[in-house]
């Protein structure tokens, strides 16, 4: 059984924002909602590093733990998805998430937020596979077609890796052996409780 994980190789990420654009375009994500974002540290200074951040599909997801309506579920591939029909837009998952992944279409007075939206690992949602309901609520379902998330698949420097955790870790370990240096599996400790 595969266990899907994301890994961003900060030594390779060139902050081109293509993953962000690809995600927005693929899933027709509305304005103001960002399933993926690139964070640059030491911007414009020596040692600048960029990391592409989205939902990491945690093993023990804090969002799922605090959801008052229990709308999160983990698929057999280890992907954390949520049911927008149940979501009440309380904002708790956004407070709980270490990565700031949950997003909402609104931010207005009296806590009106709309339904939460987040990265689905391109695996759709609880609707019927490839139905229009799934497309409008959660975006396309690439995993069902045997494809991996588009952000990672089209990454020009292969900085963003997505797929079975074992294979991702293997590829990353090979890179470390070739180029030297210490592994920096950003976010893995927080998301999966382990490093490469």
């Amino acid at each position: 059984m595969a266990r899907m994980k994301f890994l961003c190789d900060a030594e390779r990420c060139i902050e081109c924002q293509a993953c962000v654009t690809a995600c927005k375009n693929e899933h027709e994500v509305p304005w103001g909602v960002n399933r993926r974002r690139v964070i640059v540290m030491n911007d414009g200074r020596p040692g600048e590093k960029a990391v592409s951040v989205a939902c990491m599909h945690c093993t023990d997801a804090p969002c799922a733990a605090v959801c008052p309506v229990d709308c999160f579920y983990t698929t057999a591939d280890g992907i954390v998805l949520h049911d927008k029909d149940l979501c009440i837009g309380c904002g708790y998952c956004f407070y709980a998430c270490p990565f700031g992944a949950p997003q909402y279409p609104q931010q207005s007075a009296f806590g009106v937020r709309g339904k939460m939206d987040k990265c689905t690992f391109c695996a759709g949602g609880p609707e019927e596979v490839h139905s229009s309901a799934e497309l409008t609520k959660y975006g396309t379902n690439r995993v069902e077609q045997g494809k991996l998330p588009l952000c990672a698949e089209m990454c020009s420097t292969k900085a963003l890796l997505a797929g079975d955790g074992d294979i991702v870790a293997d590829i990353y370990r090979k890179r470390i052996i070739t180029r030297g240096g210490r592994p920096q599996t950003w976010g893995w400790e927080a998301a999966y409780g382990e490093d490469v």
């Binding site: 924002q17 962000v20 304005w31 103001g32 909602v33 960002n34 974002r37 690139v38 964070i39 640059v40 540290m41 030491n42 911007d43 200074r45 020596p46 040692g47 590093k49 990391v51 951040v53 804090p62 733990a65 605090v66 959801c67 008052p68 309506v69 229990d70 709308c71 049911d83 029909d85 149940l86 979501c87 009440i88 837009g89 309380c90 904002g91 708790y92 956004f94 407070y95 709980a96 998430c97 270490p98 990565f99 700031g100 949950p102 997003q103 909402y104 609104q106 931010q107 207005s108 007075a109 009296f110 806590g111 009106v112 937020r113 210490r182 920096q184 950003w186 976010g187 400790e189 927080a190």
Partner: protein, 366 residues
């Protein structure tokens, strides 16, 4: 003579030993902290770290440690929920509190309060009016005060039910009504909670402003607490318009917990103000929930004493008038003051004759 000198010597030895032990313990704690007097905190912990600064440690590992500890970077994405933080650690802590002690201790606390009140009612029973009703009543609460009380009370109950549903619904209601059923209710509950909360806050603020003057603590309250509020023993302690217990409910409940719940509630309710980071939100939610649970437990006691616990108390807030015997028993100083100011107790029959002339007197007596 000799034995006395020996005893003196022994006691002195004991005292010396105790004092030196005490000195050793204090010095063992104090001496290592002297460093703080010499070097100020910034020097101990190192200067404000900067990413680009050259330093002995590996700058790259420093950067990744900063990322783990929630340091922010730069991001081009815009949106109300976009953060430049790599990893926020507050969420996991908040989750542990929310799914741990907040639900377990909070839930058992509320159940324990209800059980204790039921036990108290079963054992002690209702506090009756001594010597029965006199049939004469005096005004206790004016119309606008009663409106304020019941508006705030009703919205408190609705807010408590909806708020507790959001905290405990996942454990209590989802197994009963199912996921979609509960989600529909929770959606409504959240909006009712979010829209009613500000209105309730106005009620609480009015209460604080209008009723603070009745609740200023004085020496009578000390006496009242010494006598246990009249629960223990037969003699009922003296009290003014508000007794000691009511003053505690006012200052601890309405004032302190009320203001805590209002401030944290407004922070949660208006994310559009924009200053609320996830840290502020998580803290506000935790404080809001804990203060509200304590307040609800407190409220159970207030509601019990005001309705079931004390005969003749509720009508002061419903009709606005109380029986003179009840007033003499529970708020004697207030009653004396009222009579001294020239207020005249009115018999029941006269009241009803004035209000509803068509109704025969004494029909709806208690």
């Amino acid at each position: 003579m000799k034995s006395q000198a020996q005893a003196l010597k022994a006691s002195r030895r004991w005292r010396a030993m105790l004092w030196s032990l005490f000195a050793i313990i204090i010095l063992a704690m104090a001496l290592p902290s002297i460093g703080y007097l010499v070097a100020d905190a910034a020097q101990v912990y190192g200067p404000e770290r900067d990413f680009s600064e050259e330093r002995a440690a590996n700058p790259r590992s420093e950067m990744w440690r900063d990322a783990r500890f929630g340091e922010g970077g730069f991001t081009t994405q815009t949106g109300p929920y976009v953060t430049n933080q790599m990893i926020a650690n507050i969420g996991e802590n908040w989750r542990q509190v929310r799914t741990g002690p907040m639900t377990t201790i909070g839930g058992w606390f509320l159940i324990a309060v209800l059980v204790l009140i039921s036990l108290f009612f079963a054992v002690v029973g209702r506090s009756r009016i001594e010597g029965g009703r006199s049939g004469m009543t005096v005004v206790r609460w004016k119309g606008y005060e009663r409106f304020l009380h019941w508006f705030t009370a009703l919205s408190f109950i609705v807010l408590a039910i909806t708020g507790l549903s959001l905290l405990f619904g996942r454990y209590v209601l989802i197994p009963i009504v199912g996921h979609s059923g509960f989600a529909g209710y929770a959606q409504a509950a959240m909006y009712v909670h979010n829209f009613l909360g500000p209105a309730f806050s106005v009620g609480v603020l009015f209460m604080i402003v209008l009723w603070a003057k009745h609740n200023i603590p004085n020496r009578t309250d000390v006496q009242w607490f010494k006598q246990g509020g009249g629960i223990i023993g037969n003699k009922h302690p003296s009290a003014g318009k508000m007794n000691g217990g009511e003053k505690v409910w006012f200052w601890l409940g309405v004032f302190t917990l009320g203001l805590i719940v209002i401030v944290s509630g407004f922070i949660l309710d208006f994310p559009n103000w924009g200053f609320q980071t996830r840290e502020i939100m998580a803290w506000s939610q935790g404080i809001h929930a804990v203060a509200a649970i304590i307040w609800i437990g407190f409220f159970f006691g207030h509601a019990y004493i005001g309705t079931l616990g004390t005969e003749g108390a509720l009508e002061g807030m419903t009709r606005g008038r109380v029986d003179t015997n009840w007033a003499k028993q529970h708020h004697d100083l207030w009653y004396e003051d009222l009579i001294a100011r020239g207020e005249r107790p009115v018999p029941e029959s006269e009241l009803e004759g004035a209000k509803a002339p068509s109704q025969p007197a004494g029909q709806s007596g208690h």
